[in-house]
């Protein structure tokens, strides 16, 4: 038995263990639980929250090369705690996992890193902001000006990010409810980074520009036990408006969304306001995954088709999932990112 696989099975147990996708439905135990009363404070909350069981720094970008070729980019750092405290040295209970990917219309490059905290191999500092694992990092003087690097065995990227608008707090001032039973997380985003930099692909270096969306979320039990996966959308319309919406699949689906006006003002939308229906399924890694969706927000007159740039954007990592850039057509036009988890084979 490969230790690494074993580790992840335990770290992020699968649906078969009836604890929701990736163990996110495990009960909180001694860990801190998100509360509606907790107000987010910056820049401190850009850093890690070791008292919570799980946390992530999740960046996706829609990019364009000089020849007009569309690209997608992902940089994610996950933190998973075995105990609700930090520690120095090898026996810290804080474990880290990094995922990086570059998607082209025909190719999808993926890399993964695992590390423990406490020895300097991975971690996050709030001021000046730095998040890193091995040779991958996202850091800058503050949260609005960041440099992002990652490298796999067959690809690398190095891009700069400059925030174009304010942070967006999801749900109730950053308290985001995830199920009818009340499971929740703390959740905020920086949805409007301008990006410029270089992708290194087997064909050579590619200069790119575009936009990026950074999600920050932490919790101790974000999912209910019956919730087995989710479909998450971040959509940026050409009008400057954006929407973040997700559907948590369970005995009864739970959907929530945030509408972001072009000036950055955010409005939380209640369960049921965001509707997503699969249109086309694609077979990837032995599973049937929906790669085209009809997304509707009747209140906002949105009725669009969301289509994957590359339907094979499968993240063949220890915990596998689908994550890739999408294009939007219909009542609105634009680009975005789609993440789909919990699709069993």
């Amino acid at each position: 038995m490969n230790a690494k696989v074993l580790l992840l099975l335990i770290l992020f147990p699968m649906q078969t263990m009836a604890q929701g996708f990736a163990g996110l439905g495990t009960t909180a135990g001694d860990f801190a639980t998100p509360s509606r009363e907790t107000l987010l404070e910056f820049p401190a909350d850009h850093g890690a929250h070791p008292a919570y069981r799980i946390e992530w720094w999740y960046l996706t970008a829609n990019l364009t090369g000089q020849d007009g070729t569309p690209y997608g980019l992902q940089w994610t750092l996950f933190r998973s705690a075995l105990a609700p405290h930090d520690g120095q040295g090898w026996d810290t209970p804080q474990l880290w996992m990094g995922h990086a990917a570059v998607t082209t219309p025909t190719q999808h490059f993926v890399a993964e890193r695992l590390a423990r905290g406490g020895i300097g191999q991975a971690g996050v500092a709030a001021v000046p902001f730095a998040a890193w694992i091995d040779d991958w990092s996202m850091k800058g003087v503050d949260f609005d000006h960041l440099r992002l690097t990652a490298s796999g065995s067959d690809f690398a990227y190095d891009v700069g990010l400059v925030a174009q608008g304010p942070l967006v707090l999801h749900g109730d001032r950053g308290f985001s409810v995830k199920s009818a039973a009340g499971q929740a997380s703390h959740y905020y985003s920086q949805p409007s980074f301008a990006v410029a930099g270089t992708l290194t692909l087997p064909e050579g270096a590619v200069s790119v520009v575009g936009t990026a969306w950074l999600d920050r979320e932490w919790s101790s039990q974000p999912l209910a036990a019956d919730q087995t996966g989710w479909d998450w959308f971040s959509l940026s319309f050409d009008s400057g408006e954006k929407v973040m919406g997700f559907v948590l699949r369970g005995d009864r689906d739970f959907a929530a969304a945030t509408w972001i006006a072009s000036d950055g003002r955010a409005t939380a939308l209640p369960d049921g306001a965001f509707m997503a229906v699969p249109l086309v399924h694609h077979r990837v890694a032995g599973r049937e995954v929906p790669v085209a969706w009809r997304v509707r927000l009747p209140d906002r007159a949105v009725d669009v088709t969301v289509t994957a740039l590359n339907p094979d954007a499968w993240m063949a990592t220890s915990v596998p999932y689908w994550e890739g850039p999408v294009t939007i057509a219909g009542s609105h036009h634009g680009v975005g990112y789609l993440e789909m988890t919990g699709y069993d084979n």
Binding site: L6, W90, D91
Partner: protein
Amino acid sequence: MNRVMLSALFSHWWRNPMQLFTLLAGLALGTALWSGVQAINAEARASYDTAAATLGSGRYAQITARQGSISKLDYVALRRAGWDVSPVIEGRLGPVRIVGIDPLTAPAGIGPVPLGEGFDLTAFFGTGQVFAQAETLARLPKTGVPGIVAPDVAPNTAITDIGVAQRLLGRAGQIDRLLVGPEPSLTRRPLGEVAPGLVQSPPQAGNDVARLTDSFHLNLTAFGLLSFAVGLFIVHGAIGLAFEQRRPVVRTLRALGAPLGRLIVLMATELLVLALVAGAFGVALGYGVAAALLPDVAATLRGLYGADVAGQLGFRAEWWLSGMGMALAGTAVAAAGALRSLARMPLLAGVQTRALGMAWRGVGLGRLSVGLLALAGALAVWGQGLVAGFAMLGALLIGGALALPGLLAVVLRWAGSRARGPVAQWFWADTQAQLPGRSLALMALLLAMAANVGVSTMVSSFRLTFTGFLDQRLASELYVNADDAPQARMIRTIAEAQGAVVLPILSVDHELAGMPAEIYGARDHATYRDNWRFLRSVPGAWDALARGEGVLVNEQLFRRAGLDLGAAVPVAQGVTLPVLGVYGDYGNPVGQVVVNAAVFARTFPDVVALRFGLRVDPADVAALRAALRLGATVADTAMVDQAAIKALSLAVFERTFTITTALNVLTLAVAGFAILMSLLTLAVMRLPQLAPVWALGLTRGWLAGLDLARAVVLAALTGALALPLGLALAWALLAVVNVEAFGWRLPMYVFPLDYLRLAVFALLAAGIAAAWPAWQLSRLQPVRLLGVFRHER
């Protein structure tokens, strides 16, 4: 018809159960020793493979520090520079090897952590868990860390998280080596830029332990093969006798119309069945032998080479099949001649051709033997490579064995010509007449004794050389490892205050002549002059070394790089020094160069000594240890005293001797059995020769006594011939096979007392084997002797 023919053929075995027993027992014994040795080897190799899989050696490139251990900072710096490296720390806790890994970064397949119910990751990373086989957990000293039974972990090895291992071994923050995984970042920075103190070495083809222990397994295999050969002699004798005696039956069957072809097929089938039965017995017996010897072998391997081998025997198809295969092949070889002569037998041939045939064969064997011995000599002089070495061994042994009947005949003729009196003359003449019937058993005895002399000479030479080598290398009374430079300074200060002479051990890893090598800096001190012995050297080598005018190299480097005294060795960029001397460095796979400490300091100014040999009055060792423990916080595990190492090494050799003695006794027993069987079969055939002597007035008791004496005399003569053959065998093993296989030559020592003891054992074996037939002769009913005169022959 087949059934009738089979029952006719089988009736021979019913009438001669002893012959059947001889055949089965000879084959079973030979197979038992062969498959027993194979079982031990297979078990050991499987253990090495598991260990290699557990530790990733052989599959992944490794990064080590030029000096001391790797720091956590260097490890993290490499990870952050895009290196896919994973840390490993190893050490011993009591008898158990502790391996600490980082499961998060370890390459796939390293560290088999079982996926069981209730596996607790929090515990694995936090208070810690130790994964090991149940017997290893039982041996592990009390650590306070919970043990988890994991059958897939290598024997005598316990795997745990690196943080836990560092704590258990008292080596906080230290890393021994980094495994380099298969997926580095595209943007990885060069090693020399990130961590200049570290060096990368490519994955080693075949792992170190397997290479180191090869010689040991080679010896065991040789032993097994010899025993099998001895067993084959027995089988050959039994089959030959049975076929001779069945000639009348065969003649009758053919006269009755049985086709020859079918007869041969039936007899071959009969042998096949017997071989399968004996092979199965042999393999089962071999399992018993292996199970009895394995704990000693495992302890020996652990002590000698640090190789961990399971103390319990698994049942492996490979040696089971190899044992059966050997039994079948051996029977085929032993029976080929008998079947061929049966096929050629004229329909009306009588029984009496036997003695003549034997005599003719004797002449042929003599020629063959001379040819084989000449071949062995030629191979010794001109042969190249390991295969030639083994061919030489084979030619030597078979040639020696085949020469035996001829040489014995010469000696017996000479003795007969000098004999006075009728009884003495009859004794020698009768002994000579019996020679053809006994020569196979005597050849078996010769082989067994030669093998014993050869192997025990080799093992004892190895022991003498190795203990001498330990004296040379472990001249200091206490060895201390420091964690870092400040602690090293403390150790020096404290040791010197206690009146100890401090000999810093300075070394860097290097590559010379395309092989990994270590360069050592040695301070000019009587310790080295008094204890180190050269294989070859220029006059005044130590003085020249002290003046920094040259280097010493170990034998491995000397042979592999084709160096000679005075040849230039590139020690570093711009530093090339001539070879002053060559020293033996037994068991070390890498090359070694010794330079003067001053030259070393000039050439490698960054290297500080973290290891020290301390010369101190043996009575003060305990006090010095205590002072270092208190004053410089040196962990007990970082201090090794010489007496303890030597005691350990000697204990290991005692184990080796247990194994050698056990194998010696077993082969001698097989040979003794061969003698017994040959005498029993001869006893009946000899009645026509004995009856006239008895009739002339020699009593049965006298005759029995003479028979006993004859057995001992023949054994003594055989023993006298076995000694030179055994010494030649030992020489071939030490000076030819060992050099070809491992690059170093073991000096040969002779052990006359051991040989004397062996000779006594051999005479005893022969005497005991002859005792029963002699006793039977002394109780023989006179009517049977009288019958000789009445019967028509």
